[in-house]
């Protein structure tokens, strides 16, 4: 149940702090998202720049890059995902503990980018794992990554802990693991996870 904003401010003036468990829970989740120490291509350079002093991702509580998926909350897919690399990316995502989030950074990670018509590049990581925020750009500037990060925080803030729209890790029915594609004779098998990605309807 949400508390009326005006009432909250008024009570705050009187020295009474009111919150809900949901707000507290989401505040805790969004304020310390630890990304995985994991770069795929040139976008990773921008990601590194974002974490350093000039752009300072630490302001948002995400400065602790973990080299192990077991300790990470967020995966930044920073760069080209080749078909040879895609099974490993999905496997790393499966190894992360819930709750977990994905930011697909740059043209390659969201769609294949300039390599879309090539034979060896996956046409967007969202074919295999659910992506929370997509960032276009080649590569996106550090500000764009910060914007994506703030968008993710807003998304977490708006989540309800119960009911239909509750996050995946609170839903016993929702899948926690995603099938790892197998390298086949001509392409990855399957070429996309039908439960995660469907062909967008194009209105021409």
């Amino acid at each position: 149940m949400a508390v009326d904003e005006q009432l909250k401010i008024e009570m705050g003036k009187q020295g009474v702090f009111v919150t809900t468990l949901q707000e507290l829970y989401n505040w805790g989740r969004r304020s310390s998202i630890w990304p995985m120490n994991f770069g795929l291509a040139c976008c990773a350079i921008e990601m590194i720049a974002t974490t350093m002093a000039r752009y300072d991702l630490a302001r948002f509580g995400a400065e602790v890059f973990r080299p192990s998926p077991r300790q990470a909350d967020m995966m930044i897919i920073s760069g080209t995902v080749t078909k040879k690399m895609a099974p490993q990316v999905v496997r790393l995502y499966n190894q992360m503990g819930e709750p977990k989030y994905v930011i697909a950074m740059g043209a390659c990670a969201i769609s294949g980018g300039p390599f879309k018509q090539g034979y060896n590049v996956l046409k967007g990581i969202d074919r295999y794992i659910p992506v929370d925020v997509h960032i276009p750009g080649c590569p996106p500037r550090p500000e764009a990554l910060l914007e994506a990060f703030i968008t993710l925080q807003k998304k977490i803030d708006a989540q309800h802990l119960t009911g239909e729209g509750r996050p995946r890790f609170l839903d016993a029915e929702a899948p926690g693991e995603f099938p790892v594609p197998e390298p086949g004779e001509h392409d990855l098998e399957p070429p996309a996870n039908k439960n995660v990605w469907t062909v967008p309807t194009i209105i021409r």
């Binding site: 034979y119 390298p183 001509h186």
Partner: protein, 228 residues
């Protein structure tokens, strides 16, 4: 540096029985290359590396080229004897006349795979010397000798050519795929490679991608129509 003709003469003097052919380059750079036969290729390479005057100690680049089967149409003048009715003669009376006719003939030039090696000399500061080798065809006779024992830098580059073109280098100690995964069957840089059909969704298709996307959509529609 020696010209290609001089290098060819030097190779033939040093390696008896070596098959060397000059492939001229008609462009302004005039970088003519040497086409080597398979039998003595490694011996020739060792000579090029060890010869004091050439001292080609650096293999800078290995390239693969796919030459598909080529259909050549050419016009040939043929002289033949034709029977023709005699002018002003009786009906049915014929005589033999030789005439020249232009005929169009088609023939198929078989394709092959080719590798191109660019050699430089760091010691003598000259280069490049361009070597070529060709396979017998594009399907079953695709092997050629490896230059890995002569120049170490051939290692990954020959693996890449093996991966993307399917040239099998005999004598290469570790010939595995480099860019694609083990178990991948195709050779993507060949002209007749067919990409996996994932053109179902193209937000802004144009040119050949538009064609591919339309092809895919029409196939999908046909499949949907068949089900209904």
């Amino acid at each position: 540096m020696k010209t290609v003709e001089e290098i060819k003469a030097a190779i033939e003097a040093a390696v008896p029985g070596a098959e060397v052919e000059i492939v001229p380059n008609p462009g302004p750079s005039g970088q003519h290359s040497l086409l080597l036969g398979h039998a003595h290729a490694v011996a020739v390479a060792e000579f090029l590396r060890d010869d004091a005057e050439l001292a080609l100690d650096l293999l800078s680049n290995v390239t693969g080229v796919d030459w598909p089967d080529k259909e050549i149409t050419e016009k040939v003048k043929v002289t033949r004897e034709v029977e023709k009715p005699v002018e002003g003669g009786e009906p049915g009376q014929t005589e033999k006349v030789t005439e020249t006719v232009e005929e169009t003939r088609k023939r198929v030039e078989p394709g092959y795979l080719e590798t191109v090696y660019h050699l430089y000399s760091v010691a003598r500061k000259h280069g490049p010397v361009v070597l070529r080798m060709r396979t017998g065809n594009r399907t079953d006779d695709v092997s050629m000798p490896s230059f890995m024992p002569v120049w170490r830098s051939a290692d990954f580059q020959e693996r890449e050519v093996f991966d993307l073109y399917g040239v099998v280098f005999t004598g290469h100690p570790d010939l595995r795929r480099l860019l694609m995964w083990e178990g991948f069957k195709d050779h993507p840089m060949r002209k007749d490679y067919v990409e996996p059909d994932d053109f179902e969704y193209e937000p802004t298709p144009h040119d050949h991608v538009l064609e591919r996307a339309k092809e895919h959509q029409s196939r999908e529609q046909a499949a949907a129509g068949g089900d209904a």
